[in-house]
Symmetry: C3
Subunit: 129 residues, 3 copies
């Protein structure tokens, strides 16, 4: 059910991209209660002028041209504590797996209702019977 | 008002892409009460490693490299029955029009408020007067 | 905190793209209470058949192949008046800066909760302490 949009610079290697993808999925499993195999992601590669971040930083955080944007649409109901743990797991996990700076990991969540998904065959897997 | 993001593999033919685009729009008209001509879509073509799905399937559904992701942002208020009918119309419609497997049609909905749109000229067409 | 997805035609010049990007950011600052330096955007360039709009127009507005889609995810709580002023500032600002028709500026807003962001380092900057 989560759909993750992952936007990365063109220069991101295949290995790094795969590590980012896997880390986002693993963090969903381990801290956000997402079921195994629920891995749906749309990745886009971007030219340098297509990923825009504040050149002087924001809230004391400074960004680089390696920035990645991860926007997750998933079902509402997760607590603030779970969301906090998810951010930590994604940023730290990407750093450990790839060496990327945690500063360059931007995460945005969009909460939706369970009936808002069809994951193939035209069915509504999470809706009322 | 609905904005549909449609993400497809690079190998999707122009004819298939057009059929997907038209089917999504037609399903909005026929089952979801969307007005005629309200057809706004952002399509992106992707390399094979950019559309990620569970290789062992999920909830008994198995996916292929022909997978398409359709994420629709539209106004809140549609019933579960309407959403269910929309999924059916999109998945079956794409299958009939293109021969694609219904298993490869992923749909995600994001509900927003009527005042959340400007469809040209800087106006707010659905907001209060 | 706002994340703006900006989808433009491939033929958009660098100068025009930069003007669109800056105008969206400036409108956030001046009419929507967004803090300085809070500028996060994901831009995608598209082939002509990837940006779909109603060929006969919609609600009396007619579109061209120069159409741009701007989808902003930001924190809920902004009033209808603020959203209305934001649309006006973005559409008029893009017209003044680039000569583009205001008819070709499509804006979609997605409201989320303050805890739905991590803007680097794995922290949750807007959540409860």
């Amino acid at each position: 059910m989560p759909l993750a949009r992952i936007d990365v610079p063109h220069h991101t290697s295949r290995a790094v991209l795969e590590a980012i993808s896997d880390t986002v999925y693993e963090a969903m499993l381990t801290v956000a209660g997402v079921p195994a195999h629920d891995k749906f992601q749309v990745i886009s590669r971007h030219a340098p002028d297509e990923l825009v971040y504040p050149s002087n930083g924001y809230l004391g955080v400074h960004y680089s041209a390696n920035i990645v944007f991860i926007q997750v649409t998933w079902n509402a109901g997760r607590t603030t504590a779970v969301k906090r743990a998810f951010y930590r797991a994604v940023a730290d996990g990407i750093h450990v797996a790839t060496g990327m700076r945690t500063e360059d990991v931007i995460i945005s969540l969009v909460d939706v209702q369970p009936e808002n998904w069809s994951l193939g065959t035209g069915a509504m897997p999470y809706g009322p019977a």
